[in-house]
């Protein structure tokens, strides 16, 4: 399994993503990929990490969306590669139109940085199959703009297609319907504000993030085995 961790100027969770992927995906090759890269062929999982790409100028994720690598992400996603956007990565994916909606300023205006309880409301995805349906997990958040918003029509679609994957048990940011993470209709692009890569060992206070990586590994193995046969 080949994993790309994208790096934009201002990304600051890229090394955490590399560490988490290396720790949890035994047979994976993990590479940091600079934002000017134009081809992501061959990568099975593309992680868009957290941070403050381009200083969050204009809007968070607005400028990163135009980086050359984002065309490559769209192409790879179209071909079925798994894309995981975390925090600023989620913001970038919505700005790029790979996921619907937008992330607005937290209603309390505060940058919230603490552990948070999430409910896995959709365990039937490539990213969450190792969790129980409606299981409550402990994953930290760290964001000032995580207030998910979309119009009513989009919300209906998200519900109808089971695209809401994680919700907060205690809403930290005013997010619509307590949404913490959503997936695209095809089921291969997931964006979430909480940081699973920061929850991969007891030393960090939680290792509930490990099973997200294990879920991805599982589908990759299944897919790979089919290809070999």
């Amino acid at each position: 399994m080949k994993v790309a961790v994208l790096v934009f100027p201002g990304s600051n969770c890229d090394w955490d993503c590399v560490h988490a992927a290396e720790e949890t995906l035994a047979e994976a090759t993990v590479e940091r990929v600079w934002h000017t890269t134009e081809d992501l062929t061959g990568y099975d999982l593309i992680m868009v990490p957290g941070g403050f790409s381009y200083g969050d100028y204009l809007r968070s994720g607005a400028i990163a969306r135009f980086a050359p690598v984002m065309n490559a992400v769209a192409k790879a996603a179209d071909k079925g590669a798994y894309v995981l956007g975390i925090c600023n990565g989620f913001q970038i994916l919505t700005e790029a139109g790979l996921l619907p909606g937008a992330l607005r300023r937290n209603t309390g205006l505060k940058f919230r940085c603490h552990h948070s309880k999430l409910r896995v409301v959709q365990s039937n995805t490539a990213f969450t199959s190792e969790y129980g349906q409606d299981e409550v997990i402990d994953i930290p958040i760290a964001h000032g703009e995580g207030n998910y918003y979309c119009d009513e029509q989009t919300l209906e679609q998200l519900k109808r297609n089971n695209q809401i994957v994680f919700t907060y048990e205690e809403n930290p940011n005013g997010s619509l319907e307590h949404i913490a993470g959503i997936i695209n209709e095809q089921g291969n692009v997931l964006g979430m504000m909480p940081h699973p890569e920061r929850a991969v060992s007891d030393l960090l206070g939680s290792k509930d993030g490990v099973r997200m990586f294990q879920s991805i590994m599982k589908v990759w193995r299944e897919r790979h085995a089919t290809n070999v046969n």
């Binding site: 204009l58 400028i63 135009f66 909606g101 937008a102 607005r104 205006l109 207030n147 918003y149 005013g174």
Partner: protein, 81 residues
């Protein structure tokens, strides 16, 4: 050469927590009659062209694709010679 003034505002049906905080501060100052505050962005662009129609078409695209996020923001602009 055109000077373009672009105004980006939060859509009416989207909450503006910053605006609410500023409104509360204004109330604390004694301006109790301030019913609502909405915070937006103001951008000035200088475009080096003589073709007004082209400049307008370009600014429209710039707004849609980058300067505003149509999911949560509205925009309007003025072109000055």
């Amino acid at each position: 050469m055109f000077k373009v003034k672009v105004y980006v505002t939060t859509k009416a049906n989207v909450l503006d927590p910053q605006g609410t905080a500023v409104q509360q501060a204004l109330h604390t100052m004694g301006y109790g009659d301030v019913e609502e505050v909405r915070i937006g962005k103001y951008l000035e662009l200088t475009i080096d062209t003589e073709d007004r129609a082209q400049a307008e078409a370009d600014v429209e695209k710039m707004c849609k694709q980058l300067l505003a996020n149509p999911v949560v923001e509205d925009y309007r602009y003025e072109l000055e010679d």
